[in-house]
Amino acid sequence: MNCRRFQHRLYEYLDGTLSPGAQAAAESHLSGCAACRQALRAERQVAQSLSDKFRRTTDSLQLPPVVQHRVLATLADQRRAPAEEQGSVFSWGRLAWPLGLAASVLLLVAGVFLFVRASMTQTGPAQPRLARDEVLVQLSYVVPIYTFRQEGGFVVDALTYQTNVVNERLAAELTRLK
C-alpha cells in the first residue's frame, strides 16, 4: 500500500471497516510512513475536536415538554375527527368522476335546450317554418382544405378552411324540454 491508497482509505481505516487484508497492509504502511501517521493523527484530532465542540454546544439542550404535548394533542385531535367528516372527504373524491360526468351531460342538455329555444324565437326570412313537433338543429363544421399548385419550378401548398352550416329538422321529443 502506498501513501495515496492509504489516505484514500483513511476514513475506512478509522472506522475499522477495511477487510483484514487491507487492514494489515495499512498497518504495515503506517509503520514505515511518517507522513501517513501524521495524516492519521490530524484526522483523529479533527474528529475529536469537532465531536467535542458539537457536544459542548448541545449537551445542555433538551426538547421542551410542550413538543410532546403538541404531538399527543395533534394525534388525539386526528382520532377525534368525526368519522362522517372523513367519510365525506372520501366520498367527494370517490364521486368526482360520476359528478363530473353528470355535470357534463347537464351542460350538454342545457346547451341543446337553449339552442332550441333560440331557434324557436328567431324571426326573419331565413327562418324555416316548423311543424308543431319539429325542432331545428343547426350544425356547423369546419373542413380544412390543403391544396398544392405549381408555380414555375416550385410546388406551393396552401391551407384554407371552409365552414359549412347544416340545418336539420328533427321530430323532436326534445320539445318536451320546453
Binding site: E12, A42, L50, K53, T57, Q68, V71, L75
Partner: protein, 191 residues
Amino acid sequence: MDEEQLVQGLRSQDPRAVQEMVASHGDRLFRSACLLCGDQSEAQDLVQETLLQAVRSVPRFRGASTVYTWLHGILLNLTRHYHRDRKRLVYDEELARQEPAPAEEHPSRLDVEMTSGALADALDGLSGSHREVLILRFYEDMKIHEIAAHLGISSGTVKSRLHYAIAEMQRRLPSELNLFGPCGTEEKAMQ
C-alpha cells in the same frame, strides 16, 4: 419497551409509545436539529413535525434500521425543506429590504457560550449537504458507509463532502478554535 414494542405501539397510536419515542429520542433529535438548522425554535418545530410524520408513516417502517436512524432520516428531509424555504425567504427579504437588517436577526440562536456562537456561524456558512455529513460523522458518530446509506449517496461522495466541509470549517472557525490544534494549519499544510 424495546424497539419492536415501540413500533407496534406507534402503529396503534398508543400515547405511551409516543411518550416513549419522545423520551428515548427527543433530546438527541432536538440537538441534531439545532446543529442542522442553527435555530432552537425552528429545531423544536422540525422535531415536532418529525415525530408526527413518524407516527403517520410508521406502517411503512420495515425495521431495516434503528428507530433513531429512521427518525433522523425524516428529520433530515424536513431540514432540507426548511433550508430551501429559508433561502427563498432571505431572497424575498433582500428584495424588499430598504434598511439594514435589525441586530437581533437570530434571537434563539445557539449562543450557549462563545464556542457555540462561533461554531454555529461556521456551520451556517456551509452548504446543507456539507453540514449534513459533518453532523452525521462527528455528532451522530456514523461510519462512512452508514452515512452513505442514510443519505443515499456513494461512500466516495461522503468522503469528498467531508473533506470540503472540514476544510471550510477550519477556514471559518476563529484561530483559537483551530480543528488541528495550535499548529494545526501547518500540520495540514505539510500533508
